[in-house]
């Protein structure tokens, strides 16, 4: 790694000002767990890193508003999300996902903002938050905007965040009786990066599936919404045959990539199985309540 300028602004506005440049070698630094790897391997050679660590005081709160929306500050560590009682109560899937995400030390340092902004398709939080209909609150030189996590990724390691834009927080809507599941398939160790991640959120009414969200990640170049499988499920009775068909449709619509975690052919087969199992699991949870 070679020398660069490391700055530590005290406010979000100052950080945005420091990041408002066309120079791609200027980037924010939160927990540093992802960016350090990219620097060590020489993939990223910064000229300036804007550490957001001094913003942790103002941007690492977990709060619930009177409409039941959960807000998680971008500088909240993954460990804080894992151990938060408020999160456990209102988005119980999140702490569950943390248990198998990296390891204790990484979760102690890594932040929600970094986990969303990095754009590595293997990451667990993007599909999970997308299935929960979460939105990112991005703050930039032009003000604030909300971006659904489902629309955050433009490509491989690429987000739709614009010049100078920082993720300030993420907002998770109330569950409204929906049940959510994340199934992570690892091919080497239990806490390895996934070969495939499938996240779903299902809500039933009058015997049919009314609310359906289905996302795949890791096997794909970027997190992908399984729209055809969703459409096949929506408005129908959740019988075993329907869930199986949804798995098959998902496997057909998704574009998977070959990598060290498995061949594309293997991962296509996995999609069909894991989508079906995720749907079953979510329905099971629903009937237990």
């Amino acid at each position: 790694m070679r020398g660069f300028e490391l700055v530590r602004p005290a406010t979000l506005e100052e950080a945005i000002r420091l990041l408002d440049t066309d120079d791609p070698t200027v980037r924010p630094l939160s927990g540093g767990t992802a960016i350090m790897q990219m620097m060590k391997t020489g993939i990223f050679k910064p000229s300036r890193l804007v550490s957001l660590s001094s913003l942790a005081g103002d941007h690492s709160a977990i709060t619930l508003d009177d409409k039941g929306f959960l807000s998680i500050g971008a500088m909240t560590t993954l460990a804080a999300v894992e151990h938060s009682q408020v999160v456990l109560q209102h988005a119980p899937l999140l702490p569950k996902v943390m248990k198998r995400l990296a390891n204790v030390r990484v979760r102690n340092a890594a932040t929600v903002g970094g986990a969303l902004a990095h754009g590595d398709p293997h990451m667990d939080l993007p599909p999970v938050l997308a299935a929960l209909d979460a939105e990112v609150i991005a703050q930039g030189p032009g003000g604030q905007r909300r971006i659904p996590v489902a629309d955050l990724y433009a490509g491989y390691f690429e987000t739709v965040l614009q010049r100078g834009e920082i993720i300030a927080s993420v907002s998770v809507p109330p569950r409204n009786g929906c049940n959510s599941v994340y199934r992570k398939t690892t091919t080497r160790t239990a806490d390895d990066w996934p070969a495939l991640g499938v996240a779903t959120s299902l809500g039933r009414g009058e015997g049919v599936l009314q609310h359906v969200r289905l996302f795949a990640s890791a096997a794909t170049e970027r997190m992908t919404r399984l729209g055809s499988a969703e459409a096949h499920l929506r408005g129908n009775r959740p019988e075993a045959k329907l869930l199986e068909e949804a798995g098959r449709i998902a496997a057909q619509e998704v574009e998977v990539i070959d990598d060290a975690h498995g061949s594309a052919a293997y991962k296509v087969a996995l999609v069909a199985v894991q989508v079906r199992r995720a749907l079953h699991e979510a329905l099971q949870q629903g009937s237990e309540q």
Binding site: M1, R2, G3, F4, E5, L6, V7, R8, P9, E14, L18, L29, G32, T33, M36, Q37, M39, K40, R48, L49, S51, S53, A79, K99, A102, N103, V104, R105, V106, N108, A109, T189, A190, D191
Partner: protein
């Protein structure tokens, strides 16, 4: 130049001030140095860089009482922080209860991974004073031992939990 608060003035090398195992220290630090690099320069060799990627835990140190991978921590960012390493657990020539438990259970062969396991064990016992075996396995899953002393390490953690002097006797209290 003494600079506690980093501002937006360009600087590749900075003087930082932090507490290391209870003692106030100052060091000239380059932006690209990680915390293990800095500790080695200060003659502390307990935290060592092995994988360099956050996977193995050999570089575990506590920053403001939180276990992190020193290999993924930029040294300039510990300015103003409290850093604890395995060297600070007990007075010179003595061992603390976790270190002693690792010896009693023979929980190492080469010992390369041991400082990291010891520091993580402190962090675990702080959070869960009497961890179950699955809890130990889960908590230490980010620490690798290439000599595969895992069964002995799990026993050492259980022994340490039993021998723990008192809830306040955790990392850093000896400094």
């Amino acid at each position: 130049m003494v600079c506690n608060d980093m501002n937006d003035k360009a600087a590749v090398v900075r003087r930082i001030r932090f507490r290391l195992n209870g003692r106030q220290r100052e060091a000239q630090v380059a932006s690209h140095e990680n915390l293990v690099d800095l500790l080695v320069r200060l003659d502390l060799f307990g935290a060592r860089e092995s994988c360099g990627q956050g996977l193995c835990g050999c570089c575990t140190v506590l920053v403001d009482d939180i276990a992190v991978s020193g290999c993924l921590t930029l040294a300039q960012l510990v300015d103003g922080c409290e850093v604890h390493t395995v060297e600070g657990l007990a007075e010179k020539g003595k061992l603390d209860f976790v270190q002693q438990a690792f010896i009693d259970e023979g929980a190492f062969q080469c010992g390369f991974c041991t400082p990291g396991f010891v520091m993580m064990t402190h962090e675990l016992l702080k959070r869960i004073p009497e961890p179950s075996e699955p809890e130990i396995r889960e908590y230490l899953s980010g620490n690798l031992c290439r000599c595969a002393a895992y069964p002995e390490i799990i026993r050492a953690v259980q022994t340490a939990a039993r021998n723990r002097p008192d809830p306040a006797g955790v990392a850093g209290e000896h400094a």
